[in-house]
């Protein structure tokens, strides 16, 4: 069975707690931050509810695609997200999307992503290539 929880002396006279992600031995000296679910040496931490990638295919009607949480959270969560053209490896923050593929003519505004307590929605391009959204939903 994999060791996943370790607490005790961590060196330098300090004590701490580490928890590894499933499948990783917390006692393995090669276990880096990315393989830890928690480390008390972290100065700050935020729990992740959901993360993933959503491919928004072209729809000329100006509609949103939906990622359902399958549950209702206690509040609208903070969502980190970036988007790229499916034909490019370059990412854009959602605040700086190219409005050429949007419906920015609606009140002069354009929202690439909408967040709710039970889902997030990503705008589907009205023209051009599909868009790849990468997102991280944080627990409220």
């Amino acid at each position: 069975m994999t060791n996943r929880v370790a607490f005790g002396a961590v060196g330098g006279g300090a004590f701490g707690l580490k928890v590894s992600k499933p499948g990783y031995d917390v006692l393995d000296s090669g276990t880096i931050d990315a393989k830890l679910a928690f480390d008390s040496s972290w100065t700050k931490a935020q729990r992740i509810y959901l993360s993933g990638v959503y491919t928004a295919t072209v729809n000329p009607s100006g509609v949103y695609g939906t990622v359902n949480f399958g549950a209702t959270l206690s509040a609208v969560p903070t969502v980190l997200a970036a988007v790229r053209d499916s034909a490019s490896s370059v990412w854009n923050p959602l605040e700086q999307v190219n409005t050429g593929w949007s419906n920015a003519n609606i009140d002069g505004q354009f929202q690439a992503m909408l967040a709710y307590v039970d889902r997030i929605q990503f705008f589907r391009p009205i023209t051009g290539n599909s868009r790849i959204y990468s997102y991280i939903v944080l627990l409220p």
């Binding site: 929880v5 700050k44 992740i48 206690s74 990412w91 854009n92 627990l139």
Partner: protein, 123 residues
């Protein structure tokens, strides 16, 4: 006194202050092995690189291309993970600010680029 920490052969839970770890829901946990914690593995500030410039930043090798948060008040920009250990930031033209309701004003904007590399895969 409220029970706050539960350690069993099945895992570890730490509840939020005021919540009994034995009866609280997962949403009320400060830590649970059922969910991951977001961690910033590297962050920094790049002094105003100017418009239309490219800056490469070496980042820790996590075995994947990580999610990165980038912000800049002055320029439009993009970012690219050219490898697991290289973050490429490209500034474009300065953001155009207009306001129809106010007399023209000079707004001094910070051109520095701030970034944070997370412990989550971007794709």
């Amino acid at each position: 006194m409220t029970n706050r920490v539960l350690l069993t052969s099945g895992g570890l839970w730490v509840s939020q202050p005021g919540v009994d770890v034995l009866t609280g829901t997962d949403d009320q946990m400060l830590f649970s092995m059922a969910t991951e914690c977001l961690q910033v593995v590297q962050s920094g500030v790049i002094s105003d690189p100017g418009a239309n410039s490219t800056t490469n930043v070496t980042i820790p090798d996590q075995g994947f291309k990580p999610f990165v948060i980038v912000s800049c008040d002055k320029y439009n920009f993009t970012f690219e993970l050219t490898s697991n250990t290289n973050l490429r930031l490209k500034t474009q033209s300065a953001v155009s600010l207009t306001n129809d309701n106010l007399a023209p004003t000079v707004i001094t904007r910070d051109g520095s680029v701030r970034y944070a590399v997370l412990n989550q895969v971007i794709e």
